[in-house]
């Protein structure tokens, strides 16, 4: 938010002082609005902006000896022994199963039981190589506890304000009470000596072929199959493109320190 605020300030100043640019005021206003839109896009959907830029400039990225990210930025290509390897990634968060914020109910237990059979069926039905990766980042318990307590305090303040208002909205009250319950459940789990963990989860597979195109096509087909296969787990699956692709590729060889992981995968972790 701080980055966003400071970044947007340049364009906000220009927007409000556009009159000072005489005949160019309309162009300056339009560019300032464009600038604000761009920083929001970069902040929340950089995976849309970045590949478009590299595609327009037709830029390929060398990420290692014999490894290239093509301008579309949807895979990492390797050419070795006359064969092209295309490595691709899907995000696949399974928080519902094991990292749920609330307590594990009987219903969840049933789903967890089913998940073991589903996983085995999936493994036996997929006839190509793939990996399921979880990068686990243990969090500072004290800081996590303080954050939760701060949130509970904030929600309680909002709830009191809503209830004291002349026309309290029952939907808002229910929503705030739900949020407070979730936070309290987390606090309770902490007091049972559970450690808070952030996790980045993704699936990786490799396509191959005698040409760049056939390798990418093979990869796309495999990723689509994995996407369908993992749907049985009720997970959110997205194809990784752009900046995160580079860092996930590096994660095959290095697990970065906590601070670096949080800054790279801020949205996922």
């Amino acid at each position: 938010m701080i980055y966003l605020g400071f970044g947007a300030l340049t364009f906000i100043i220009l927007l409000f002082s556009a009159g000072a640019y005489g005949p160019f005021s309309i162009i300056v206003s339009a560019l300032a609005i464009f600038g604000i839109a761009m920083i929001f896009l970069i902040n929340y959907a950089d995976f849309l902006v970045f590949p478009v830029v590299t595609m327009l400039l037709n830029k390929e990225i060398i990420v290692g000896k014999d490894y290239i990210i093509p301008s579309k930025q949807d895979c990492v290509l390797r050419y070795v022994n006359n064969i092209y390897y295309a490595i691709g990634y899907l995000t696949a968060n399974i928080y519902n199963y094991v990292f749920t914020a609330e307590q594990v109910s009987e219903f969840d237990e049933e789903r967890m039981l089913e998940s073991v059979d589903k996983w085995e069926n999936l493994v036996s039905n997929i006839d190509f190589s793939f990996r399921y990766n979880i990068i686990a980042i243990g969090e500072d318990v004290q800081k996590y506890r303080e954050d939760i307590e701060g949130k509970i305090g904030f929600y309680e303040f909002q709830l009191n304000r809503e209830m004291m208002s002349g026309n309290p909205n029952q939907q808002t009250i229910d929503e705030l009470q739900r949020k407070i319950n979730v936070m309290r459940a987390r606090l309770e789990r902490l007091s049972r000596e559970e450690r808070p963990v952030s996790a980045i989860m993704y699936i990786e597979t490799i396509g191959y072929g005698v040409t760049e195109k056939s390798a990418i096509d093979d990869l796309n087909a495999k990723l689509n199959r994995l996407q369908v296969a993992f749907n049985i787990f009720d997970v959110s699956i997205t194809r990784v493109v752009g900046r995160e692709l580079y860092y996930l590729f590096n994660s095959d060889f290095v697990v970065y320190p906590k601070e670096t992981l949080f800054s790279i995968f801020a949205k996922q972790a």
Binding site: L9, T10, F11, A136, Y256, L261, S263
Partner: protein, 266 residues
């Protein structure tokens, strides 16, 4: 990360300075050009938050290739128990711990299944350092077995051609059928294996420092996993490491050639 922040602050402040400067100038066209510069600096500054790793090499690059890293992505240590990757002045060493989990869901009762489902969440909290848990399904490279079988078939066919004794001939023919069936079975199926491992990294000023730290963390994790799961987790070496991080080992070239040959329509 510090560099990103430095670029961000410098460029954003530069854009503000350019805006202020544009207010002090009376010539409209110059004011407009300065506004354009401020917009460019503002966008560049904000982009630096995410893209400083690529923007600087992109400016330096020639042609259509941006060079971020042109060394091999990893180097296997001489001892064969860690891999190294150099980034700037730092060396990262990564060690791998293999977790031998062989039990199938069909052999488990409900309690065991529940325990297994919770296993990954329990594994996730065993170390204070970030680490990666990987479940890898890979096709087993059967080309070596096929070569052995084909050699056996050739050998038997040669023996059959020279053999006169009917009883020995029957036995040889039986053996030949067996090897042919085995070869057919191996060609039709694609044997798969599932391996679970943990990868942990450490950063150091040099390779020794990073390697020692990574091995120490890997051993900590291995003993944590062993006591948690009851299986004998151990630090992986050489060939096992290659299976975990080298695409040409994970998907071997022989297998690709074989698959591509199958797909060619004659």
């Amino acid at each position: 990360m510090q560099t990103q922040l430095m670029y961000f602050i410098t460029l954003i402040f530069a854009s503000w300075a350019v805006i202020v400067f544009s207010f002090l100038i009376d010539i409209t066209i110059v004011k407009f050009i300065l506004a354009l510069v401020a917009i460019f600096l503002g966008l560049l500054g904000f982009s630096m938050r995410y893209y400083s790793y690529i923007l600087i090499p992109a400016i330096k690059s020639r042609g259509n290739k941006i060079n971020l890293y042109d060394d091999p992505p990893y180097v296997l240590s001489p001892s064969g128990n860690v891999i190294f990757r150099r980034e700037g002045n730092s060396v990262y060493a990564s060690a791998f711990v293999k977790i031998p989990l062989y039990k199938s869901a069909s052999e488990m009762n409900n309690d065991e299944k529940l325990e297994f489902a919770k296993l990954f969440s329990r594994l996730a909290i065993i170390s204070q350092y970030p680490f990666k848990i990987v479940s890898q399904v890979y096709l087993v490279n059967t080309s070596i077995h096929k070569t052995t079988i084909i050699n056996n078939i050739n050998e038997l066919e040669e023996k059959i051609a020279n053999e006169k004794d009917e009883r020995v001939l029957d036995r040889l023919k039986g053996a030949l059928t067996m090897w042919h069936n085995l070869l057919d079975g191996l060609s039709k199926a694609s044997p798969r294996d599932l391996v679970t491992f943990v990868m942990v990294s450490a950063v150091g000023g040099n390779e020794d420092e990073a390697s020692n730290l990574a091995m120490q963390r890997a051993e900590e994790i291995a003993s944590g996993i062993s006591s948690l799961t009851g299986v004998n987790a151990s630090v992986a070496t050489r060939d096992e490491i290659l299976l975990f991080c080298e695409p040409t080992t994970y998907v071997p070239i022989e297998l690709i050639t074989e698959k591509l040959r199958e797909n060619v329509v004659v």
